[in-house]
C-alpha cells in the first residue's frame, strides 16, 4: 500500500480562486431560480411604470416645467414623444427579460452582466443616500433597491455560481 499523501501545513490563498467542480448534470439551485424571479419582478415593475407614464402623459406635459425638446408642441408631436419613451423602455425591459431567460438556462455571462448592472445601480443609490442625503423609503426607491440587492445576493451565491460554471473544466 503506498504511503498516503501528507496534509500540507498551510493553505495557499490561491485555493480560494479554484474554479467550482465540473458538474454538467447539476440540478438548478434555488438561488438561481430566486434570481430569475427577482429579474421578472423588476420587469413587471418596469411595465407598471411605463403604463403609468402613458396613462398620465397629458398631465405630465401640462406641468409648465416639462419641455419636450425636439418635438413639436402639437398633439401629434406629443404622441410621437410618448411612443419614443415607450419604445425605449420596452426595449430595455425586453433585454432584461432575455437576460432572465439566459440566467435561468445557466449562462455565466448573463449572470455576471446582471450582477454588474445591479452593482452599478446599488452604488448610485448608495452615493445619493450617503453623500446627498436622498431618502430611501417605502414610498420612494426602497422596493426597487431591495429587488436589486436581493438579486445580487441570489446570483452571487456559491450555488448559483457553481451552477453557472458547471460546464467549466478545471
Amino acid at each position: 500500500m503506498p504511503a498516503p499523501q501528507k496534509r500540507p501545513a498551510y493553505e495557499p490563498a490561491a485555493r480560494l480562486l479554484k474554479p467550482p467542480r465540473y458538474d454538467p448534470g447539476m440540478a438548478r439551485p434555488t438561488a438561481t431560480v430566486a434570481g430569475v424571479v427577482l429579474i421578472l419582478l423588476r420587469v413587471l415593475a418596469g411595465v407598471i411604470v411605463l403604463v403609468s407614464i402613458a396613462a398620465g402623459w397629458d398631465a405630465l406635459l401640462s406641468d409648465p416645467d416639462s419641455v419636450l425638446e425636439g418635438f413639436d408642441p402639437t398633439p401629434e408631436g406629443r404622441q410621437a414623444a410618448l411612443w419614443l419613451v415607450i419604445a425605449t423602455g420596452g426595449t430595455v425591459l425586453l433585454i432584461d427579460l432575455a437576460l432572465a431567460f439566459f440566467v435561468f438556462q445557466g449562462f455565466n455571462w448573463a449572470r455576471v452582466f446582471v450582477m454588474f448592472i445591479s452593482v452599478l445601480s446599488i452604488s448610485t443609490s448608495f452615493t445619493a443616500w450617503w453623500a446627498q442625503g436622498q431618502e430611501i423609503t417605502i414610498a420612494t426607491t426602497y422596493v426597487s433597491l431591495s429587488i436589486d440587492i436581493l438579486l445580487l445576493l441570489a446570483l452571487s451565491s456559491r450555488s448559483a455560481a457553481a451552477y453557472a460554471r458547471r460546464n467549466e473544466r478545471r
Partner: protein
C-alpha cells in the same frame, strides 16, 4: 483549452467581488429596513419581520461565509462545518465497512434514514413541529466535512415529537486518508441529540438546539447498533478530540470526554434485496 488548466480563474475572483459586495449591500438594506420600521407606525411590525429575515437568512450567513473562509481552516480538525462555514457538530464516531453495511446495521437498530432537504420536506418539518405531529423521516440540515455535505443521515424520533430526535450524519473518508495519529477508517460520523427548536446564536435562524453532552448521544448510537447485531465490533481511541468543550454552529455549548469509538460493521451481511443499490 490550455487556459482552463490553471489552478485559479479570473472569473472566480470576479465572483468573489460580487459575493462580498452583495454581503455589504445586504447589510445596508437591513439597516434601511430597520430605520424604516420606526417610520411606518403599525406597519413597522411586518417591516421588523422583513428585517429579521434579511438579517438571519441573507446578511449574517453571507458575512459568516466571508469571515470563516478567512479564519476557519479547511483541513480536518475534528469538527464539521455548517453551510455558512461555521463550526458544526463534533465528529465523534468512526466506522469501518461499506455504506450499505452501515445502513443495514442502523436500520436493524431502529434508525430511520433522513429525507433530503427539499421545499416539500422543509415545509413538512415546519408544520409537523408546530402541530407536534410525528415525522420520523424528517430531513437534517447539511453539515460539511472534507468539503462535502454528509453522504447520508439517520435519526430516531423521540415520543413522536419532531422537535426532539437522535440524529447522526455520515461522511465517507477520502481514499488513503488517515485520522490524526495515523489510524485508517472508512467513514466518520457526527451524532448529536436535538432537544428543542430555538434561535441560533450566530445567525439568529430558527434551528434545532442540541444537547450539550454529546457523549450520551455517541454512546446511544454505539449501544443501539451493537445491541442489534452481535457481529458489530467496537474499538475506542481514547482522548481523540482535544476540544473537550466548545460551541457548535448554532451557538450551543458542547462537551465531551474526547473518546472516538470506531464501529466495525464489516461482518454485517447486507440483505440481498438491497445489495443492488449503489454504495455511497
Amino acid at each position: 483549452m490550455n487556459r482552463r488548466r490553471r489552478g485559479y480563474s479570473i472569473g472566480v475572483a470576479i465572483d468573489w467581488f460580487f459575493f462580498v459586495f452583495a454581503g455589504l449591500a445586504a447589510l445596508w438594506l437591513a439597516y434601511l429596513s430597520l430605520t424604516e420600521t420606526f417610520h411606518v407606525g403599525w406597519w413597522g411590525i411586518p417591516f421588523f419581520l422583513v428585517f429579521w429575515v434579511l438579517l438571519a437568512y441573507l446578511v449574517l450567513p453571507r458575512l459568516h461565509r466571508i469571515l470563516t473562509t478567512i479564519y476557519v481552516p479547511d483541513y480536518f480538525i475534528g469538527r464539521t462545518r455548517t453551510s455558512d462555514g461555521l463550526l458544526g457538530d463534533p465528529v465523534n464516531l468512526a466506522f469501518h465497512g461499506t455504506g450499505e453495511q452501515i445502513r443495514t446495521a442502523l436500520e436493524a437498530a431502529g434508525w430511520t434514514k433522513a429525507e433530503p432537504v427539499t421545499l416539500g420536506s422543509s415545509w413538512r418539518i415546519i408544520t409537523s413541529t408546530l402541530a407536534r405531529r410525528s415525522y420520523d423521516e424528517a430531513p437534517v440540515s447539511p453539515l460539511f466535512l472534507f468539503g462535502r455535505q454528509q453522504d447520508f443521515a439517520y435519526q430516531q424520533e423521540v415520543d413522536g415529537n419532531p422537535a426532539q430526535r437522535h440524529h447522526v450524519r455520515f461522511w465517507r473518508c477520502p481514499d488513503d486518508w488517515l485520522l490524526p495519529g495515523g489510524r485508517r477508517v472508512g467513514w466518520l460520523a457526527a451524532g448529536t441529540f436535538d432537544t428543542s427548536v430555538g434561535l441560533s446564536l450566530f445567525t439568529l435562524q430558527v434551528t434545532h438546539r442540541i444537547d450539550a453532552d454529546t457523549d450520551v448521544e455517541r454512546d446511544h448510537i454505539v449501544k443501539t447498533v451493537t445491541d442489534a447485531d452481535p457481529r458489530v465490533a467496537v474499538d475506542v481511541i481514547a482522548d481523540f478530540a482535544t476540544g473537550y468543550h466548545a460551541r457548535n454552529g448554532g451557538g450551543d455549548s458542547i462537551r465531551t470526554d474526547g473518546d472516538l469509538p470506531i464501529v466495525d460493521v464489516r461482518a454485517v451481511e447486507v440483505p440481498t434485496q438491497t445489495a443492488g443499490e449503489v454504495t455511497a
